[in-house]
């Protein structure tokens, strides 16, 4: 059983409302996570290209905050027993935490807000209870249904970000005012002391409809307009304009300098700012082109997608610039190309078995393999937002030997585990580590172990 209760002063209510309005621009429902020292609201959008999170400090943001967990009680819900997480429709929360505009009648304006979680075995219903205590003894009571979920976060290692800039959001807002209504994406780069923001769409327009061609709008501002600008020149980073607007609009309302951090195109970019006990973060997947990239159009053409930290998306098959420290010989792919080399009867047997079982276990078979057999990404187009922590390092030192291993890696079904498990040869099938017990029971055993391959001269 989890206990959670907190109360908010009117000002905090408005701030919470503003945060919710901002979050609502990403998706319909918000994940609420309560920990001992903070409450976090986060939204990961449906295409997993943008993640927005607000962390409210228990000490400074709330009037009072108490959170408790009975050990073992709700551990089935989350992996971390010191945490409670659930998901609520943003619309429902917004209607409870109305903004400033609703305070027309001064007598009955909100004086305090108390929120309590009702989640005990005795209760018939589990509800999030919001009590708005207004003037003249008016109490507005909201009981919101919530859904227990496992919250996914986009990770972003700030220490590894090589590019950063900081600016007053009102400037950025002025910039977006120039953009047309049909603009979808935003390209940011700097050159010659100027930072250029270009809005564009990739919508395919009919050649005949020449007047419908999308409008490009570039706004160039001086680097001196930034608080500081420490980013590589001619590095094109492309994000969705909608996400950008949501972030700067909120940063502008709280009047806080906004900081952007990123490493390179096709890696996540994070906007962050802090105000009065609230930390806001927006982690956005980027597209774009590196300065040396000769084929900019290819990287722009494909939509990036985020995936969860817990279940990393396939790292692209033909990743090139793997740095020596993280590089490893790839485990043998479970693809046909290896089998003839091994010539093991057992391998072929198990293959045959898997074939015969395939029918009876058709469903489980596919299920077990979805983790590892997700279609690899076409190539070089994007990476997940949920990049492994050490990932940035592999881009630091360009390695001339990269070309050759890249080819070898082509056959590998590139799951995220490859990088997340650290360097060195592994005697496990990728994907196994991620599957639950249920899946493992249904699973068809791997066709071959790494250990069997020794002595064949290929991986010694």
């Amino acid at each position: 059983m989890t206990t959670l209760s907190f109360s908010l002063a009117p000002k905090a209510i408005y701030q919470l409302h503003d945060a919710l309005m901002c979050l609502s621009k990403f998706d319909d429902s918000v994940a609420i996570e309560a920990e001992f020292d903070l409450l976090r609201l986060s939204v990961l959008n449906s295409t997993k290209t943008a993640y927005s999170a607000f962390a409210f400090e228990a000490d400074s943001f709330f009037e009072s905050y108490s959170f408790g967990v009975a050990m073992g009680g709700s551990s089935s819900r989350t992996t971390n027993p010191n945490k409670f997480s659930c998901q609520v429709l943003i619309k429902a929360l917004v209607s409870a935490f109305k903004g400033r505009t609703s305070g027309r009648d001064k007598d009955t304006s909100v004086e305090r807000c108390e929120v309590e979680l009702q989640e005990s075995p005795e209760d018939v219903e589990c509800r999030l209870i919001i009590r708005m205590i207004c003037g003249l003894g008016v109490i507005k009571l909201y009981k919101l249904a919530y859904e227990s979920i496992y919250v996914q976060h986009a990770t972003f290692d700030r220490s590894k970000s090589t590019n950063t800039w900081c600016i007053d959001p009102k400037y950025l807002k002025e910039i977006t005012d120039h953009f047309g209504p049909s603009a979808e994406q935003l390209d940011v780069f700097s050159d010659h002391g100027k930072v250029v923001f270009t809005s564009f769409t990739t919508k395919i327009s009919d050649g005949k409809e020449i007047l419908r061609q999308p409008v490009h709008t570039s706004v160039a501002i001086d680097k001196t307009d930034f608080d500081y600008y420490l980013a590589e020149d001619r590095l094109h980073v492309v994000i969705y304009l909608k996400d950008f607007k949501a972030a700067i609009a909120h940063a502008d309302t709280v009047d806080s300098m906004i900081t952007a951090r990123f490493t390179r195109p096709c890696r996540p970019l994070q906007f962050a700012y802090e105000f009065e006990g609230v930390r806001a973060e927006y982690t956005l997947m980027t597209r774009g082109e590196a300065p040396m990239d000769g084929t900019p159009s290819s990287s722009r053409a494909v939509a990036p997608q985020l995936s969860a930290r817990q279940t990393p998306a396939p790292v692209q098959a033909s990743q090139r610039n793997t740095a020596p420290d993280t590089r490893q010989m790839p485990p043998p792919p479970r693809s046909r190309s290896v089998r003839p080399l091994t010539g093991s009867t057992r391998a072929s047997q198990s293959n045959a078995e898997s074939g015969s079982h395939a029918e009876s276990h058709a469903e489980s078979h596919t299920e077990a393999h979805t983790e590892s057999q997700r279609p690899p990404q076409p190539s070089m187009e994007f990476d997940s937002l949920f990049v492994p922590a050490d990932d940035d390092r592999q881009w630091d030192v360009p390695n001339e030997e990269d070309e050759a291993p890249a080819e070898d890696e082509l056959g590998w079904d590139a799951t995220g585990e490859q990088t997340s498990m650290g360097p060195g040869l592994r005697d496990t099938e990728p994907g196994l580590a991620e599957t639950s017990h249920e899946e493992e029971e249904m699973r068809i055993p791997p066709t071959q172990r790494m250990s069997q391959l020794h002595g064949l001269g290929l991986f010694d």
Binding site: G180, H192, K194, I210, L211, R212, A220, I221
Partner: protein, 342 residues
């Protein structure tokens, strides 16, 4: 083909495009030495023919036009152009030029606004810095005030000659009544109020008097005027009949040069002037679509003087003179509004 100029009067240009964009999506723009013409001919509704001297919106000294024929015809998405020009209103300096991306002709607007911070930019910009997008950031800056260039190319292809040569201004007979319109803002708000009333009243299908009108189903306003300074705006429905009358308006005398006295006297407007003020026969009446009329009146943002020429039961022609160009026939927007029959 070459066209580039500095925009001298961005706010007028922006307001002009705003008024035009309410009437049609695409606009034909004819650039000539000395004149710029804007033409909107929508499938249905009011046509606009606007002619402006170059210096009304552009800086004449920077106006560069090179073409074999002496003019350039462009088809422009007018709301996109308007959108781009809005950025230019507060700008320090804006340029417009015809450019090309592949085979796609574009109008590129480069807008330079004052930078927020006043830090000196000692280095300045190298001339003609090209970015990888379709835009061009411009010319060296001054050392003290770094500008903010904005570039918005609005796609616009030069028209094929045949299509454009076929365009001609509507011809109509001499007007019965011409009168200077009162404040467009007032006229617009009353017109819109009437239109709203008629729209809300479900019984009224087609405005004026009956529901048998063959044309569009919007409510129709009756506008009439005489040569004695009166203008009447009316709407009649099954359940109501309302009208507003302005009086003591000006009936300007038109330019009659080239006509002898006899011919002038034979003009319908002079005949109408002879009819007594209280005589019903002295009124010329047209019926216009309420919504279309409201769009036409959006030109009021330019704060113009408007002379309305009534051709009884046929058409209404508005001559819109921009401020500062009064009696200057060179700068005139002409709106042709057809009258609906009952």
């Amino acid at each position: 083909m070459r066209f580039r100029t500095q925009i001298a009067n961005a706010s007028t240009f922006a307001k002009l495009t705003a008024s035009l964009s309410s009437l049609g999506k695409t606009c034909w723009m004819r650039l000539e030495e000395g004149f710029i013409r804007f033409t909107i001919i929508p499938d249905q509704g009011t046509q606009v023919w606007a002619q402006l001297p170059v210096d009304a919106i552009f800086e004449e000294s920077t106006y560069i036009l090179e073409s074999n024929t002496g003019y350039i015809n462009l088809e422009v998405s007018v709301d996109v152009l308007h959108r781009a020009l809005r950025s230019a209103v507060a700008a320090k300096l804006s340029h417009i030029r015809l450019t090309k991306k592949g085979n796609l002709p574009l109008l590129a607007l480069t807008i330079r606004t004052t930078s927020w911070s006043n830090a000196p930019n000692a280095l300045g910009l190298p001339p003609d810095t090209s970015t990888t997008t379709t835009t061009t950031t411009t010319t060296p800056t001054t050392a003290t005030n770094p500008p903010t260039p904005t570039t918005q190319p609005a796609p616009r292809p030069p028209r094929t000659r045949n299509a454009v040569e076929g365009l001609h201004q509507p011809r109509c007979r001499d007007p019965d009544v011409h009168i200077m319109l009162p404040s467009l803002l007032q006229l617009k708000s009353i017109s819109e109020r009437y239109t709203k009333l008629a729209t809300e009243s479900k019984t009224m299908a087609a405005g004026a008097t009956t529901s048998t009108s063959t044309s569009a189903s919007g409510p129709k306003l009756e506008i009439s005027a005489n040569m004695h300074g009166s203008l009447k705006l009316a709407i009649v429905g099954d359940a109501f009949s309302i009208s507003t009358v302005w009086s003591d308006l000006l009936n300007p005398s038109l330019d009659h040069t080239g006509l002898d006295q006899e011919a002038v006297e034979r003009l319908p407007s002079e005949r109408m002037r002879g009819v007594a003020a209280d005589d019903e026969k002295g009124w010329a009446k047209v019926r216009v679509d309420g919504k279309d009329w409201s769009k036409v009146l959006s030109v009021g943002r330019l704060n113009p003087r408007v002379i309305a020429s009534f051709i009884h039961e046929t058409a209404l022609v508005l001559y819109v003179f921009l401020p500062g160009s009064w009696n200057d026939e060179e700068s005139c927007l002409t709106y042709y509004i057809n009258s609906y029959s009952i």
